[in-house]
């Protein structure tokens, strides 16, 4: 089972390593982790996507709550608003450029850079849409991918 945790932490050095070392030590895996500032400059929000059953999720939440600079831990359900930023560099030549462009237009991805042999697309959207875009581009030869990992907020 995939879970998404939204973790509000104090914005101070060393917090990330405290959180990450907790996952490493207890053997919980992390699919993605994104950290950024929030509306309050003294706090940061970490969005952690991981995998595990209910027992593991409960333990992850409880153990995270024990980390002193962690202020709040919330497990987000499937209806949360989520997004991920993707940069993907695809090989292309004059024959395939049009096709890649079509895919970009279809998926509403932006062309961020064009060179003689590659196009780099920028896309923001839900995790699955990022996957779809990559799948569509794969036949043309993906050169490099960079993704931020999921960020999420509760609805309402």
């Amino acid at each position: 089972m995939k879970y998404t945790l939204s973790v509000l932490v104090e914005n101070q050095p060393g917090v990330l390593s405290k959180v990450v070392s907790l996952f490493a030590r207890r053997g919980y895996n992390i699919d993605s982790l994104a950290v950024g500032t929030t509306e309050d400059t003294t706090m940061s929000r970490m969005t952690i996507v991981g995998e595990g059953d209910d027992h593991i999720l409960e333990q992850v939440e409880k153990q995270l709550n024990k980390v002193i600079p962690v202020i709040k831990v919330r497990s987000l359900g499937p209806d949360a608003v989520t997004a991920e930023l993707l940069l993907v560099k695809v090989a292309c030549d004059p024959q395939t450029l049009g096709k890649v462009n079509q895919i970009a237009a279809l998926m509403k991805a932006e062309v961020a850079d064009v060179s003689k042999a590659t196009v780099t697309l920028r896309f923001a959207g839900e995790h699955d849409k990022c996957e779809t875009l990559c799948d569509l581009l794969r036949p043309y030869g993906i050169r490099e991918i960079s993704r931020t990992g999921v960020i999420a907020l509760e609805r309402g």
């Binding site: 932490v9 060393g14 907790l22 333990q59 409880k62 709550n65 024990k66 002193i68």
Partner: protein, 532 residues
Amino acid sequence: MVKCLEAEGVEILFGYPGAAICPFYDALYNSPIRHVLVRSEQNAAHMASGYARASGKPGVCVATSGPGATNLITGIATAYMDSIPIIAITGQVNLEQLGRDVFQEADITGACESFTKHSYLVKSVEELPRVFKEAFHIASTGRPGPVLIDVPEDVQEALAKSFHYPERADIPGYKPKTGGHPMQIKRALEAISQASRPVICCGGGVVLSGAREEMTAFAQKSGIPIVSTMMGIGVMPMDSPVYLGMIGRYGRSYANRAIGEADLILLCGARVGDRAIALPNQVAQQAKIIHIDIDPAEIGKNMRVDVPIVGDIKTVLAALAERVEPAHCQDWVERVLRYKREFVPRGEDREDRVEPRSFIRALSAMMEEDAILTADPGQGQIWAAINFTQKEGRFLTSGGLGTMGYALPAALGAKLAKPRRQVLAVCGDGAFQMSLCELATVVASHAPLKIVVFDNRRLGMVREYQNSRYSGRHIATHMDGNPDFVALCRAYGIPAALAENNRQAEVLAAEMLQTPTPFVLVCRVDPETPSV
């Protein structure tokens, strides 16, 4: 930093200086705080732990950067596993040199990440009062534990414009819960009223929260029998009619039977460690489980729980004791007490060697009721845990991490916290050699510690494991090269004697307890003596 420690009411430090902590030591020169110079930093942490457990206040240890700090790690991890409040202060290289691998640099906050309750790398002198206030607050409240403060040398040298020590710590992410949820307490009371074979299992949390009186009141009013884990030993006098004994792999069979046959188990401040309850899910299938712990993460971690109560044991037990009705379990109590009565403790006095189990029983009768006993992991720990009748005293051992070499420094820390109480360390010859350098610290601090060394010239517990698991293929468990311990102790100026049999051991133990100085009693033990 020294002013912060004074503001916290710290009276004693255990430490070892080095260049990167010298500014702190220089400031200590004019302070009334007593400093105990150890012989190895690991033992400074163990002494702080023994001090904390005996005094109920956080123990403080100090080391320099690099190797000083890394030597502390085992001591910090030991305290973490047993939830002991200690503050570890380490020197660090100058701020601008951090990360350049300069002489004696070690990333100690990083290295200790997984076994400190919290840690700080202090970057400016202005932060120090807040950091110290928070550190002491975090270490000693909620589920206690070690907090590390790493201070670069130039931060120690910097002068603050003014000193103001905060009155309270305000940490947004740290609000330990103390009172149990009334709904859960109600559910617990219902479960107790429906149970016919209830048992209380006390862990170290009961001792840590100082809930001795509340536990006794609850047990007496409800009439529910009590077992304890090793860390829960001493939660009530062991000769009390409601107390059965220690559970676990090396525990008393009748105590384990009570757990195995119960239909309701009240786990109090016990984390269901594998050595205490080997098959938690099997136990939980047969019995309803009420789990009281201040750390929500312990509830449900190793065992399925029916009624979880998050809160301070002392508060929760007081609430339970107030409302609990006598449980309907007369037959059950009769039954478990019969198990206990029918049990014949093993080990009888010998003429050729000291039988450690019967000697511990004799020793226990000779000592004062509030004596503090420490024990090193290994066979000696088990001999001491199950044969010594704790009354008003304490049993201090490394239960979680099982750190050899803990007993001697922890005993010294405890003795310095409670100078009037008898303090006795029980060590095997293996563990004793891990911290015997601290005999010098014992001498220098004029602490009349008593030490019993069970010398079987073996690593007894590993050897026992090799017998049971590896068909007696003994490897690396024969302690070749052991010194003459009596001569060695005397070289430190500590009176010492060798006992070859139980009669001698008892005579010498009486002499030891009369002696106003430290005393080491070495007992020759048969390597074939089992733990239980």
